[in-house]
């Protein structure tokens, strides 16, 4: 078990772990943007850089994908590492001045603003972290979007920039976007993945009319042999909230004076799978679709 020394404190690490994993496990904060623990490292945003001792010189490396092979000495909060991370953030702020999420992260890093002007880019307010593309291909298996173009022309797009036939409307891309650029727009009976102009049939709650999920997600889950969204929602065409309400009503009716929350929980998520389609929240840590059963 190699020892990783971070800012002069030793930590135990496994061979193959990344610097970021060791740091996170030990409560050391390193900002990340293009990284997601459910996805392969991509190391493109460069916001997570740290310094490592190369015997006589210090090399700046990205912590999210630098693998521990043997004992390693790391500086997370050296002047150079901090300057490098802030420098990258300043460049990103110039690109995406309007993202509150990005500004929040900048603040946390001690970056107040950017000295650089906003230069028009092919895709405004996108940091090109590629998380959406990767979640769509690596986790969802749909590969509905990809990076197209080079340099400043680089954008995330569907093939030929037309409504994608591969998109199943799961919304994972929106959930995983760290700067809030991808929006789900709910139309009467369709959900639109906003920058990609893709529309997919929408299933709404039979009770309250709130969006439940896209029809295609159902089909895809079924075709993979796992429980479908409808099954996961206990066979009803209700949204989670209405279903819980109904269950509670049933339980209260059956056992007067005793509304047990435990029974409700057990039935609502068979197989212990946490399906977060992205329709509900933007917590990137909960993308688990496709891992069921």
């Amino acid at each position: 078990m190699p020892t990783v020394t971070i800012d002069e404190k030793p930590y135990r690490a496994d061979v193959g772990e990344t610097i970021l994993e060791v740091a996170q496990r030990n409560g050391i904060w390193i900002p990340t943007l293009c990284h997601h623990q459910a996805l392969e490292p991509y190391a493109a945003c460069r916001i997570c850089v740290v310094e490592i001792d190369r015997g006589g010189w210090w090399q700046v490396v990205t912590s999210c994908n630098y693998p521990i092979r043997r004992a390693l000495t790391v500086r997370v909060n050296s002047e150079r590492a901090i300057r490098a991370r802030r420098g990258v953030m300043e460049l990103l702020l110039a690109r995406c001045p309007e993202s509150p999420q990005l500004r929040r992260l900048a603040n946390r890093m001690g970056v107040e603003g950017t000295p650089y002007p906003h230069i028009a880019a092919a895709q405004e307010n996108c940091i090109l972290c590629n998380l959406c593309v990767r979640v769509c291909s690596e986790r969802i298996g749909a590969s509905a979007i990809s990076m197209v173009g080079r340099g400043g022309d680089r954008t995330v797009a569907t093939p030929f920039r037309m409504s994608s036939e591969d998109c199943i409307g799961c919304g994972a891309c929106a959930a995983v976007c760290p700067v809030g650029t991808i929006d789900l727009i709910f139309h009467e009976d369709e959900v639109e993945i906003s920058p990609f102009e893709t529309r997919v049939t929408l299933r709404r709650c039979a009770e309250c009319g709130r969006p439940v999920g896209s029809e295609l997600v159902n089909e895809v889950l079924a075709s993979r042999g796992g429980p479908t969204l409808v099954e996961m929602l206990a066979g009803d065409a209700y949204c989670l909230r209405c279903k819980r309400k109904k269950l509670a009503e049933r339980l209260t009716a059956a056992v007067p004076g005793n509304g047990s929350g435990r029974a409700a929980q057990e039935r609502s998520l068979p197989g212990g799978t946490n399906v977060q389609t992205g329709l509900h929240a933007g917590n990137p840590r909960s993308i688990r679709v496709g891992e069921a059963g």
Binding site: C45, G87, L91, Y116, L128
Partner: protein, 622 residues
Amino acid sequence: MSTVATGLKTANDLEQYRRHLLGERDPRAHRVRVCVGTGCTAKGAKGVLELFNRTAEEAANDGVIVETKCTGCHGFCERGPIVVVDPGNIFYHGVKREDVPEIWRESLTGGRIVERLLYKDETTGQVAKTPDEIPFYKAQHRIVLAYNGVIDPTKIEEYVAVGGYAALAKVLTSMEPKEVIDEITNSGLRGRGGGGFLTGRKWRSARDAQSEPRYVIANGDEGDPGAFMDRSLMEGAPHSVIEGMIIGAYAIDSSQGFVYVRNEYPLAVQHLSTAIAQARELGLLGYDILGSGFDFDIRINRGSGAFVCGESTALMASLEGRVGEPRAKYIHTVESGLHEKPSLLNNVETWANVPQIILKGADWFASLGTEKSKGTKVFSLVGKVKNTGLVEVPMGMTLRQIIYDIGGGIRDDKAFKAVQTGGPSGGCIPARYLDEQVDFDRLTELGSMMGSGGMIVMDEDTCIVNFAKYFVGFLKDESCGKCTPCREGIAQMLHILEGIAKGEGKDGDIERLEQLGTLMEDTALCALGKTAANPVLSTIRYFRAEYEEHIREKRCPAKECPGLFNYEINRDVCTGCGLCAKKCPVEAITGERKKPHAIDQQKCTNCGTCFDACPFSAVVKV
């Protein structure tokens, strides 16, 4: 001309075949060699060749035997089409179809010389008959380019006849793989593709890598603007590259090789394909090469046309059929490259050096060059020099020798300002270092690099800001856009440089450029981004005052940046023809007919129309 052998079974067969080929040769044969490299072809070499061929066919009926043959690039493309006549090695340049009958009559069959087509030195007026008498060639030392212009690259017999594949035979019959690696290591050969990494050490790492299969790859992506050394090699001596690769494959125990060729090089692809097919037929590629039990074959892949595809991980991604983008991985491609297998990538020129080292020995190679940079290097000498072209010189030659002795000095006898070495991510070196030796380490110390061997010469009229801007603009278009520092950093750099060149520079711009440079060097994902600031940083290092003049005084001393200098009319030269006044879009020029005119600086927008229009060069930049 000769019988083509098939399926050589042993090294001895190869030697027999070579003797046979030589035996067929008539040393006194009358022969005309026409360069059909890309440069000469663009200037009409194919027509010249065709006419020689036709004339030769007709003459053959009358019993006059003249051999015509096409060769690869001689390196002196600007003087093309180039035609060489044997016996005598008479070098004719700028040959047109109309000249063919005269060359035929006088030189090929008459034994005389066509004076007007010989090379004449501009300054001394001396006429050169053979290449060795031409200053451009005199100081060169050609090892990898030795066959260019001499043999027909589409005929394996020609390569075999001059000793081709003898190094391979030697390796297969008398050397252990480890000995091959030692030989390359001892020669001190360093990679010609950019980084100058020790080739032998790379081979050893590839051999030591645990996993299998192993791959051997030649990098022929050559995306530097103005560079064409690798193209000329692949076109003019494809078998040297292939032979080097087979030897490398034997050394690291690989059975599959790839040549990755830039898409814009159709002739290189064609010649390599022909060469590979011929080598296969001869038993030099494929199963059981020369009866040694060693199997190896090569496939050609055409690049996707991006500069960044020359970067090792991007190249391998592209070979795998994925988007040619660099991969962020802290594991070297010799351990995990193509298909995550050990992959030995070398530049085309690096490979072409290998057979020579094996044949002549590591000591011979190490005797050329400087302490840590051995052998020769091919440079593509372009820009404001009199003679542009491909030059191969021993490492350690001074910049002055290359630019003045070989390049003939600066065009129009202007003053030398700087030379950019190492391509778009290299740096520029000013006049005070002209006597520095050119080798890997010295160029790096000077803030530039060897790169793949681009050399662009600037004269006094070149604005340094504009020059840096050109390269940054190139890199902006070529950045893959994957990582933040390169994509955004280059765009910001270009924005600042454009401001400076427009007279909108501010105090602090230079420092901002320097900061961006450090940031990109520290944090970019691949070497493109890490070195993208070099042209800017090196020009700031040596020409800071010129940047400051642009920023503070809004003046461009080289008078290249529009708006940062004025146009005036020289009263002594102006004839008062009135052409400029007629053309000026803002009516800033006034004057009586036949009297000197004048420009109203208040009205003038510095568009330069009058400068271009004046037939007497009376409009001057001040």
